[in-house]
């Protein structure tokens, strides 16, 4: 019989009792020797750890909410050996220890991130093109009526597309009345050239280079892959909360973006070679946007940069692709080029760039 004192709450009222434990076969009974009060018997295996902080140890009961016994200091061994061990990091981590758990989690996390980054590359080709097409069409529709269309302008665009994309890999190439130096590839193999790009370009060859680049994204289904990757990263890193996850997410997708950009450049060069269009003007276009020459305001440069990381390396690659002695022809004749440049201004029905939202 121990006379070691415990404090005790029965979970029904807040009255604090000072008790001793009368040991039974597989448990004990709390008793207050002063008042003669005694509680219901409790088996040792019903005890849970509520907390062990500093000097204070508190134990609860699995089936009786609020039922507590506790003590200060160390309990006598006859009782201590029956008490459950406290949880520290959480059950899983406690079982194998902090460092092994941290190592195992690191490996698992690396594997998860790797899979999320890689799976879109394997998954995207398996998604039927018809699904992607339908998604792209649902997203874009008629682009809020912002597509520029004049008979001469359309003919010029068709002529340009035939040269750069003779196999017709892009389902649709359109010109949008938006004064931003950019071009986008949307799901479903749809390429949209912005009027800002056409106005900023000094020759049709530059537009051909950008179109070839976007065609690379269509061929590799980069837009769909990127969407899937973004979705996966958001799901996996979402639980980080705050900015940390978003930041990591951005860095990871950007590094993958660069890889896709580089191989899209490869496609552009290949298509231009097939069409006998000189890659040199495209190199000049990059140089201009990079601020190495006159033209392009800061804001315009930024738009291109944000989605298309620009480097001297990229410019040099287009310069190096120039074949000596090759008989290059302009991508469009002067009349066609002028028609394309005037298309947005000449179209009476086109929606204003920012007229209907966006």
């Amino acid at each position: 019989m121990e006379d070691f004192r415990f404090w005790h709450y029965d979970g029904e009222s807040a009255v604090r009792r000072s008790v001793i434990l009368r040991l039974l076969g597989d448990g004990f009974m709390p008793e207050d020797p002063d008042s003669g009060w005694s509680g219901d018997p409790v088996r040792w295996d019903r005890l849970t750890v509520v907390g062990r902080e500093g000097d204070r140890s508190a134990y609860g009961h699995r089936e009786r909410p609020g039922w507590r016994i506790g003590f200060s200091g160390e309990a006598p061994d006859s009782i201590a050996r029956h008490l459950p061990a406290p949880e520290r990091y959480g059950r899983w981590v406690d079982r194998i220890g902090f460092w092994p758990a941290a190592g195992a989690f690191t490996l698992a996390a690396a594997a998860v991130v790797f899979v999320v980054l890689q799976v879109p590359d394997w998954l995207a080709p398996l998604i039927p093109s018809s699904w992607e097409d339908r998604m792209g069409d649902a997203m874009v529709g008629d682009f809020g009526g912002r597509f520029c269309s004049t008979p001469a302008g359309d003919a010029a665009l068709v002529a340009l597309v035939r040269k750069v994309d003779p196999q017709g890999e892009a389902r649709d190439v359109a010109l949008a009345n938006i004064p931003i130096v950019n071009a986008v590839t949307l799901p479903g193999g749809r390429i949209i050239l912005f009027d800002g790009l056409i106005q900023q370009a000094k020759s049709p060859d530059e537009v051909a280079g950008v179109l070839g680049h976007e065609l690379g994204h269509v061929r590799h289904r980069d837009t769909l892959t990127g969407l899937l990757r973004q979705l996966g990263l958001t799901a996996v890193l979402g639980s980080f909360g705050g900015n940390a996850g978003g930041y990591l997410n951005g860095v990871l997708s950007l590094s993958y973006g660069r890889k896709a950009e580089s191989s899209a450049d490869g496609v552009a060069i290949e298509q231009m070679r097939g069409a006998a269009i000189s890659p040199l003007p495209t190199a000049g276009f990059f140089a201009r946007l990079g601020g190495e020459e006159e033209g392009g305001t800061g804001a315009q440069t930024m738009t291109w940069l944000s989605s298309h990381p620009l480097s001297t390396e990229r410019r040099k690659r287009f310069e190096a692709a120039v074949a000596k002695g090759q008989d290059y022809r302009p991508a469009l004749d002067p009349a066609q080029w002028q028609a394309l440049r005037r298309s947005c201004k000449a179209d009476p029905d086109v929606a204003k760039p920012w007229g209907r939202g966006m």
Partner: protein, 355 residues
């Protein structure tokens, strides 16, 4: 013996940051290597430590929430709210692209209203969750209200608060505080909250007075600068201008702090439970020192110090809390309120405070 008379100091904090540091650092390490998922268990460990080192009258508090229930709450929010909102967002973007701006605007407005409702609901449920996992003398708190009505109140009171150039904000804040606490209980007793917004109002008016002061100071500054220097802008005047702009932001922050310090004192002073009246003693100066300390801690440690913020805030809260009155422990019987099996996921998702 059953009655404990207490003075101002019903609350005390006995933790030390050195003892908490091993918890904070291992929490950080495990959170990183689990891609953030350990966060929920980390929160639980932190609270277990903080509650256990908080004494109320004669005994420590206990936190019995678990990482698992917080995690389940998070997953529920992800599936029930995150996914639908992603779809709506995607849909709104597509509508804008197709020129259906009106429809897109309507969709965005609807989702904005829903989010606002959810924030109110989240606040209520987080408070309820925390009370239901906080034990003292073997007794816990809670609420039998699900908080759906509070969500509606939050919606319309926030809307009214923004009327009349925001003049109704103090009323809206205080009446929401009262509504929230009046639905909470501890053991068999209901909390009673009768915070008054009127004493707070004077400080709130500082926000409106401020533009006039800025205008006057700016005019004075411009005149002095013009007199001192005719023609070219002197570096001194430029420095003065920069300091002036910084002073504007600093003063606005100070006004907000002064208002909140007063608001929180009034709000807690209006709160009682059975025979206990709660008080909060921190003045603007203490709040300011808390935030300056936070900033110094985070900046000087390149951000790592932020793992100690919850510790600092809890310590601030407890050491400035007070309680007067009496509580009869034999009348304080077990709470019969229902407890949810999942944690404060909703609140977590919107990142707002519970109290």
């Amino acid at each position: 013996m059953d009655e404990d008379e207490i003075g101002r100091d019903g609350f005390a904090f006995s933790g030390s940051w050195r003892a908490y540091a091993p918890i904070a650092f291992t929490n950080l390490a495990l959170t990183i290597v689990t891609l953030g998922i350990y966060r929920f268990w980390a929160t639980t460990r932190t609270r277990r430590y903080l509650w256990a080192h908080t004494r109320f009258i004669d005994d420590q508090l206990e936190w019995t929430g678990t990482g698992k229930e917080l995690f389940i709450g998070f997953l529920m929010v992800l599936v029930l709210i995150g996914v639908p909102f992603m779809i709506i967002n995607f849909g709104a973007q597509a509508l804008v692209l197709q020129g259906q701006t009106g429809l897109a605007g309507l969709l965005t407005l609807a989702s904005f209203v829903t989010i606002l409702y959810m924030i109110g609901l989240a606040r209520f449920r987080a408070l309820r969750y925390r009370l239901s996992r906080s034990w003292w003398h073997g007794i816990r708190g809670g609420s039998d209200d699900q908080g759906f009505g509070y969500g509606c109140s939050y919606l319309w009171k926030s809307a009214v608060g923004s009327l009349a150039a925001g003049l109704m904000i103090p009323w809206s804040m205080m009446s929401l505080w009262n509504e929230r606490w009046n639905k909470m209980s501890f053991g068999p007793h209901m909390f009673e909250s009768a915070g008054d917004y009127r004493p707070v109002f004077k400080r709130f008016l500082l926000f409106y007075l401020f533009p006039f002061i800025v205008f006057a100071a700016g005019a004075l500054f411009a005149v002095t600068a013009a007199q001192m220097q005719q023609g070219a802008v002197s570096p001194l005047a430029l420095l003065g201008g920069v300091l002036f702009v910084l002073a504007i932001y600093g003063s606005l922050g100070l006004i907000a702090l002064a208002f909140y310090a007063k608001f929180f004192r009034e709000a807690v002073d209006g709160l009682s439970l059975a025979g206990l009246n709660f008080h909060f003693y921190a003045k603007t100066k203490e709040w300011l020192l808390l935030f300056l300390g936070d900033i110094a801690l985070v900046v000087c440690t390149l951000g790592i110090g932020s793992i100690f913020l919850s510790y600092r805030h809890w310590k601030f809260f407890v050491t400035h809390m007070g309680c007067t009155g009496a509580i009869y422990t034999d009348e304080l019987t077990q709470s019969q309120t229902k407890t949810a099996r999942h944690g404060e996921g909703l609140l977590d998702a919107f990142d707002v405070g519970a109290i």
